[in-house]
């Protein structure tokens, strides 16, 4: 949306004369707001970002957890489009996949929540042990024991988080805003949805902006409404040990014996903001916000440990009381009134051409939390398009009134028939509601590559510590943790690019040989000398329905008997989906050599069902404990995948006919050690080969491409391959080699739209070797021989090149690849097809 066309700085001494001054003033005032509200970006700008968040190990007092700490991989894309001079459209897409261990509870150290039951201080670690006995002295201090019921020391008040692991899960969110701009005002409406397995929310918002005082003052305001549904499967590993009694009315029992807790929540929000230019070098921003939350606001995966004092059990020597510790789902109030105020200040530092930003935010809610956030950064341009931004942030919050690490209740548990009225109405030991401070610092390095192309790289290190709370009294250091995050952002401003191209000496658009190749074909064209291209490729591929053995449909009994080698199969895949997002960056140092870099982000999901005629669950290698979770929950993975680096070399170019060769490497950045979570104290093991995010090996990717064109017709053919250069990746296997051949033809329907048709033949080998770590083999996808095959596909595509207007020069392509013949290695799920979509812009 906006706003800032760089108004040429002018010294006061060189004020323009009245005529030009009036014109300039009028022009400047016609701009829709000189000062950008937060998160508002320029017109016709697209941005993609990859982010990675990584937590470090928690303090477990000598227990060596083999759970990996939480990691989150995030992919974001956004675009700001000027539909007309006054109508603006903004969209945002975010997806994040997270996995790893997180605290499920807090308990006195003597609970040994993270120890295996047969090894009290074991180093193998990590059963979420949430029920058991604790012994207390007469002042209700927990006592140290030897782990087998004998008191061996005095009071031990140390606490520890009990960790539980989780399988990877993916959230996807899309949102949009449609805005109308007047000369001195704007109005926008927006909405979106966020979808994950256990939580869905939809939201709408309305915002407005008023500029006055010659645009030195901007007033903004907004209203929002969010509706969210929780449908959370209660921790499967710990389910038998969790008391869910407070939520009986909200719990659904699944056919497989799981429990799903349902909750609804509504949030209404309002905010008001003011931006004021103070002088030619400074501006200030202030805001007030209010949010009312209503409904189920619990974290469904957090329990509170309650020690029920049972006077009927005689305490061991040295103890005064025996506490039967039980885990109850946390209980939060159903209403939360939240207020916040913020104050921001931006100062230009003339001597260094830098900008100092300072922000303070105060937060208050009726759960008893007061919080302060201080942030400051210094944006320092360095010349040649570089800038560096160091940043520091400090955050401190009080604990919620009902926060408690654990509870003691002076009544026996009585097999769950205890009196709930003797417990507090609300209790939570979620560390997010405890008192603590957090200090973080980082740096962002930014480079403007050409007019309109920006790359930002950011890093931040974050430490959460009870001791950092303002005024002291924060939670103990058992809850401290550190984390870091990195992000890389690419921004492309088409408006600026187009302007640059018009003025530059390379005004001609570098001719794209065969740019009419279907969207699913890579390496289809080369750029002329000094050409630059940015692009985005999306690929969705789906499998569902019947299982095939070779080319033949097979029923459940045949899969049970033959799909898993010497073992019986218990489950089969029901559907599999893969989404791939690829950035396509290409540069031509010379006419005959082009260089390409293609980072990739990938996410996959899969559902399964039981096979009819399979042996009983308890004959499965894992005792069958994972089967209910497999068939009711499915699997998800996502994150950064392998990155391709390629060189394209021109071999032949004679007007109508072009031939070039591609030589490339795929660098194994994608994870190949993604694990499923434990269930009922049995490890989940690695998730099968097809849902790991990369190949795990360095791969050679050669290609040979021919393209031709005549009048409205274009055609081409390509041979390409993938040869694994290593015998196996870090987890012991390598994917099969791939050889593909394809040929296509295209016809220009109009001067901007081309239809394409192509055929593809692909051979892929089976997985070689096998996992060198535990994999819980329950279905055909868990066996290496059930990968690869021989495939025929037919592709139907459309390509469009925008011929004029602000978006001139942008190419869009879409292609559906329809399977026509499939001859699988082993037993695999039938193919539905593949959708490819691309966007490219060369300059």
């Amino acid at each position: 949306m906006a706003a800032i066309e760089p108004v040429q700085p002018a010294d006061d001494a060189q004020k323009p004369s009245a005529g030009p001054l009036n014109a300039l003033t009028a022009a400047a005032l016609a701009l829709p707001g000189l000062v950008l509200p937060a998160a508002q970006a320029a017109d016709d700008e697209f941005a993609v970002q990859y982010g990675h968040y990584q937590e470090e190990n928690r303090q477990l007092f000598g227990v060596e957890s083999k759970f990996r700490p939480i990691t989150v991989d995030t992919l974001q894309g956004s675009g700001n489009l000027k539909l007309t001079d006054r109508v603006k459209f903004t969209f945002n897409y975010t997806q994040d996949t997270w996995s790893g261990a997180t605290p499920i509870a807090t308990a006195p150290l003597d609970m040994r929540g993270n120890s295996t039951s047969n090894s009290p201080d074991g180093i193998t670690g990590a059963t979420p042990n949430i029920v058991g006995d604790l012994f207390f002295d007469s002042n209700l201090n927990p006592l140290r024991t030897d782990g087998f019921g004998t008191v061996v020391g005095g009071p031990d008040r140390r606490l520890v988080h009990t960790l539980s692991s989780a399988s990877p899960e993916t959230r996807k969110q899309g949102s949009f805003k449609l805005g109308y701009e007047w000369d001195e005002a704007a109005l926008d409406v927006g909405g979106g949805v966020s979808v994950e397995d256990d939580y869905e929310s939809g939201f709408v918002n309305l915002g407005g902006r008023l500029d006055f005082n010659q645009k030195l003052t901007t007033l903004s305001g907004g209203l929002s409404y969010t509706s969210s549904d929780t449908n959370a499967r209660i921790d499967h590993d710990a389910l038998p040990y969790i008391n869910t009694g407070a939520y009986d009315g909200q719990i659904e029992r699944t056919a497989e014996g799981g429990k799903i807790i349902h909750g609804e929540r509504k949030d209404w929000g309002a905010h008001l903001g003011l931006t004021q230019v103070l002088n030619k070098n400074a501006l200030i921003e202030a805001g007030l916000g209010y949010t009312l939350g209503n409904g189920y606001m619990e974290n469904p995966y957090k329990v509170v440990e309650v020690a029920f004092i049972n006077d009927n059990i005689p305490p061991p020597e040295g103890a005064a009381y025996v506490g039967q510790v039980r885990a109850l789902l946390e209980q939060r109030p159903d209403v939360r009134n939240q207020f916040n105020g913020n104050l921001g200040y931006v100062q230009h530092i003339d001597a260094l051409d830098a900008a100092l930003h300072f922000n303070y935010r105060y937060y208050l809610d009726d759960w008893g939390i007061n919080a302060h956030t201080f942030e400051s950064d210094w944006v320092q341009p360095l010349g040649h398009g570089w800038s560096v931004t160091p940043r520091i942030r400090y955050y401190s919050q009080d604990a919620a009134d009902f926060y408690t690490p654990y509870l003691i209740s002076n009544q026996p548990y009585n097999s769950g028939r205890f009196n709930r009225n003797l417990l507090p109405n609300h209790f939570s030991s979620d560390h997010r509601l405890s008192g603590y401070g957090a200090l973080s610092g980082g740096v962002t390095v930014s480079k403007k590559f050409a007019k309109g192309v920006d790359v930002d790289l950011g890093f931040e290190y974050y430490t959460h510590q009870g001791g950092l709370k303002i005024g002291g009294g924060g939670e103990g250091d058992y809850a401290d943790f550190d984390s870091w995050n990195v992000n890389g952002t690419l921004k492309v401003n088409l408006e600026a690019l187009a302007a640059g191209a018009d003025h530059g000496s390379h005004a001609h658009h570098h001719h794209h040989h065969g740019a009419t190749a279907p969207a699913g074909v890579m390496f289809d064209h080369m750029l002329g000398k000094n050409g630059f291209m940015v692009g985005y490729r999306y690929m969705y591929s789906s499998q569902s329905g019947d299982m095939l053995h070779g080319s033949n449909l097979v029923g459940d009994p045949a899969i049970v008997a033959g799909g898993c080698g010497p073992n019986p199969c218990f489950v089969k895949p029901n559907s599999m989906a893969m989404h791939m997002h690829m950035l396509d960056i290409m540069y031509a140092p010379t006419d005959w050599l082009n260089l390409m870099v293609m980072p990739q982000f990938m996410d996959m999901s899969m559902t399964m069902r039981r096979l009819t005629g399979a042996p009983p669950d308890d004959e499965a290698p894992d005792g069958g404990v994972h089967i209910p979770h497999h068939v009711e929950n499915g699997h998800e993975t996502g994150g950064i995948s392998d990155m391709g680096v390629y060189a394209l070399v021109k071999l032949f170019d004679a007007g109508r006919h072009h031939l070039h060769m591609g030589l490339g490497l795929s660098i194994p950045f994608g994870a190949v050690d993604i694990e499923l979570r434990r269930n009922h104290q049995v490890e989940g093991g690695l998730i099968h080969y097809g849902m790991q995010l990369g190949s795990g090996t360095l791969d050679f990717k050669p290609s040979l491409t021919y393209t031709g064109n005549y009048e409205d017709w274009a055609w081409g053919a390509q041979l390409s391959g993938t040869k694994r250069l290593e015998d196996h990746g870090e987890t012991g296997y390598r994917l099969g080699d791939i050889f593909q051949t394809t040929a296509w033809g295209g016809y220009g329907l109009t001067n901007w739209l081309t239809a394409t048709l192509r055929g593809v033949y692909t051979i892929q080998g089976a997985v070689q070797g096998e996992f060198n770590q535990f994999i819980d083999r329950l279905g055909p996808m868990d066996y290496p021989m059930n990968y690869g095959g021989r495939f025929w596909d037919v592709g139907f595509g459309l390509n469009a090149t925008i011929p004029s207007g602000d978006l001139a020069g942008n190419s869009l392509g879409v292609e559906w690849l329809q399977p026509v013949a499939t001859d699988y290695n082993g037993y695999q799920l039938d193919r539905d097809g593949t959708l490819s979509a691309t966007w490219h812009y060369a300059f």
Binding site: L21, S224, N281, H348, Y363
Partner: protein
């Protein structure tokens, strides 16, 4: 209150800044949010780890229940 205060500043305390004097204000480093996408990424992290950051619920953001 803060709003009234700053409206007051706006009315009284601010120097007149003519359009041709706004060159510095228009520079990218002076944007209120120089790195909006990075901020939204970090905002989501803070929001899933801190009690006070979930106020931007109006923008969605999911459960963050990890």
């Amino acid at each position: 209150m803060a709003l009234a205060f700053f409206l007051g500043i706006g009315a009284a305390g601010c120097a007149e800044v003519a359009p041709w004097q706004r060159g510095n204000l228009a520079k990218p480093q002076m944007a209120l949010e120089p790195y909006p996408l990075q901020s939204s990424f970090r905002g989501h992290i803070y929001g899933s780890r801190e009690a006070a950051s979930g106020v931007s619920a109006s923008e969605g953001g999911g459960c963050g229940c990890y």
